[in-house]
């Protein structure tokens, strides 16, 4: 069997799997935002039917979203298995072949977690389900990156003290993941907005958390769906999420500044780091809009999706920096910089589409 690192169709298939995963994350976000995760009480069946033969006439109300989520999840599962088999048969890099197997385990575990969350009626499992979804998305996108032609021939980028930006990408990406876990914990308490105003919090810079105040917060709100009562923990959680968001915006702007200082504005890595700034600013606006719209399902779902893309941007920068950045003597960097200023052709790398 001929194995080649250049397999355009495999790369395209990995991108397709990644796109399907993003769509699945959006659907999952919609299910949680609409509070309809338990509208199909059984799993792996759907109201006693095999999920693939559940009559369309019964896809009413919340069932439509939950059942669609299950079907798309199955599709992502099939795509992931196909991707792993393809990698196993045609990919020469052993570690990448095993990465495909890890993806299969990931998607199976994710499906089981989602199913048990319904069957066991455990909200807590939803948090793990949401967090694993983000990791799985990054994994599939990484496979797409590793199978790209660009990755195989990625040119080295001479950079003075490349560890600075590298560590920054890693730290901020890890922070985003923690922030996504915070967000998932908030969402899977099914209590709606623990704080319903922004930029203030229950009318104050820091909200009161004593039992009487919490009781009043609950009494004041008129919820149109069956939300759980909010608790002091949940109010504290949302404040932590807000503070972490501030830190993240600052951290991502700082990494962009650092990257531009090292590589200039036009370098593809710099462009990606600037795009990351755009994503995180958009994410901050969506977070505020989630509160201002009383957690409108579409806005809250967009917040989940852009969160996933923000994590992805960070993860891609970590991988690209690890692959390309090469700490060089000052002279080499200066020479490369001079070439870069004089010759537009000095493009160290073309990032994959």
């Amino acid at each position: 069997m001929i194995r080649s690192t250049e397999n355009r169709w495999l790369h395209r298939f990995a991108i397709l799997t990644a796109l399907a995963t993003l769509f699945l994350i959006c659907l999952g976000g919609l299910v949680t935002s609409k509070g309809v995760g338990m509208s199909v009480p059984d799993w792996p069946t759907t109201y006693g039917y095999s999920m693939f033969f559940f009559p369309f006439s019964k896809w009413v109300g919340g069932i439509f979203y939950e059942h669609s989520h299950r079907l798309v999840a199955s599709m992502v599962g099939f795509l992931t298995v196909a991707l792993a088999v393809w990698l196993w048969l045609q990919e020469p890099r052993r570690w990448l072949r095993w990465l495909g197997i890890v993806a299969v385990f990931g998607v199976v575990l994710q499906g089981v977690l989602g199913g048990l969350r319904v069957a066991w009626m455990k909200d807590e499992l939803g948090i793990f389900h949401a967090a694993l979804a983000q990791l799985f998305f990054v994994l599939v996108c990484a496979i797409a990156l590793f199978t790209s032609r660009w990755w195989a021939s990625a040119p080295k980028v001479p950079i003075r003290d490349g560890s600075g930006p590298r560590y920054m990408y890693q730290a901020v990406t890890a922070m985003i993941f923690l922030q996504l876990i915070l967000g998932a914990t908030m969402r899977h308490q099914h209590a709606g907005l623990a704080i319903s105003d922004f930029p203030l919090a229950h009318g104050k810079i820091w909200p009161a958390l004593d039992p009487d105040s919490i009781a009043r917060y609950n009494q004041k709100r008129l919820e149109t769906t069956a939300l759980n009562p909010i608790t002091a923990f949940q109010v504290g959680l949302q404040m932590a999420h807000r503070l972490a968001a501030l830190l993240l915006v600052a951290g991502i702007i700082w990494q962009a500044r650092l990257t531009i200082r090292h590589l200039g504005w036009s370098h593809p890595v710099a462009r990606l780091s600037i795009a990351w700034v755009g994503l995180i600013l958009g994410q901050a606006v969506l977070g505020a809009a989630t509160i201002w719209t009383n957690k409108a399902a579409d806005i809250a779902t967009a917040h989940v999706a852009v969160g996933a893309l923000s994590l992805l941007a960070g993860a891609m920068l970590v991988l690209v920096a690890r692959r390309c950045f090469e700490t060089s003597p000052v002279e080499a960097v200066a020479a490369a910089g001079a070439r870069g200023r004089n010759e537009p052709a000095n493009r160290p790398a073309q990032l994959p589409a």
Partner: protein
């Protein structure tokens, strides 16, 4: 002659004991303050077609003389555990809404749950007392009736439909039958209460709870009024 008199006396005593219905606690729950207007519920197309006008939330049902409806009034302490009697109460799903919105049952009493709509509902109980088990099942057929019960007291257990997330209702579970839900004008009546000293609580989902200590003798008719308040801003 004497044995006949003895029998007669016993029969009269037994008869009088059977006819003693116990005390009655009545009253009115009033609301102080003006609540926020109820929020319109965005029904889906199918459920919306079952109603001629917009449907709103049902938190504050305020009637004549500021009487507050849907308040669960019950003997919070002092009552002995008493098994349920009479017919099983019914929680209905009609027009994609639960009826009644607030109701009460006795522990281990059968609760009938009916689907009066020609569409699928799921019934998802979310109790907080660990002795009461969470359950979630479907009723796809119009007219279908299921029976459930709760073994432990809990005020209030929430019931919800995840297919139609705006559908939710509350059930007060007591280990005795001495409870009532206020009508639209805030009136309530708890009957057949044995003589004793009790703490009665009026519990409303948004306006909070108030208690009153009350002593009743056999056949007494006592009144306990409550005033609940619209919560102030934190």
């Amino acid at each position: 002659m004497k044995p006949y008199l003895g029998c007669l006396a016993t029969a009269v005593l037994a008869g009088s004991l059977l006819t003693v219905a116990g005390a009655e606690i009545t009253g009115k729950v009033k609301l102080k303050g003006t609540p926020k207007p109820e929020v319109p519920i965005p029904l889906d197309v199918t459920c919306g077609a079952m109603h001629s006008g917009p449907i709103t939330t049902r938190f504050y049902v305020v009637g004549a003389d500021n009487g507050l409806g849907n308040v669960f009034v019950y003997i919070k302490s002092g009552a002995a555990k008493t098994p349920p009697t009479g017919e099983a109460p019914m929680l209905d799903q009609a027009g994609c809404l639960y009826e009644p919105y607030v109701m009460g049952i006795v522990t281990d009493q059968k609760l009938k749950i009916r689907n009066s709509d020609a569409l699928m509902h799921n019934i998802h109980a979310t109790p907080k007392n660990p002795l009461n088990k969470e359950f979630n099942f479907a009723q796809p057929i119009k007219g279908q009736v299921s029976e459930k019960s709760f073994p432990a007291p809990e005020v209030l257990v929430r019931m919800k439909c995840d297919v139609h997330p705006w559908m939710f209702a509350y059930i007060g579970v007591c280990d005795h039958p001495y409870f009532a839900v206020t009508d639209k004008d805030g009136n309530y009546k708890i009957s057949n209460v044995p003589a004793g000293k009790y703490t009665v609580e009026a519990f409303h989902l948004k306006a909070g709870a108030k208690t009153a200590d009350i002593s009743v003798g056999a056949d007494d008719k006592k009144t306990a009024d409550f005033e609940l308040e619209v919560p102030a801003a934190p």
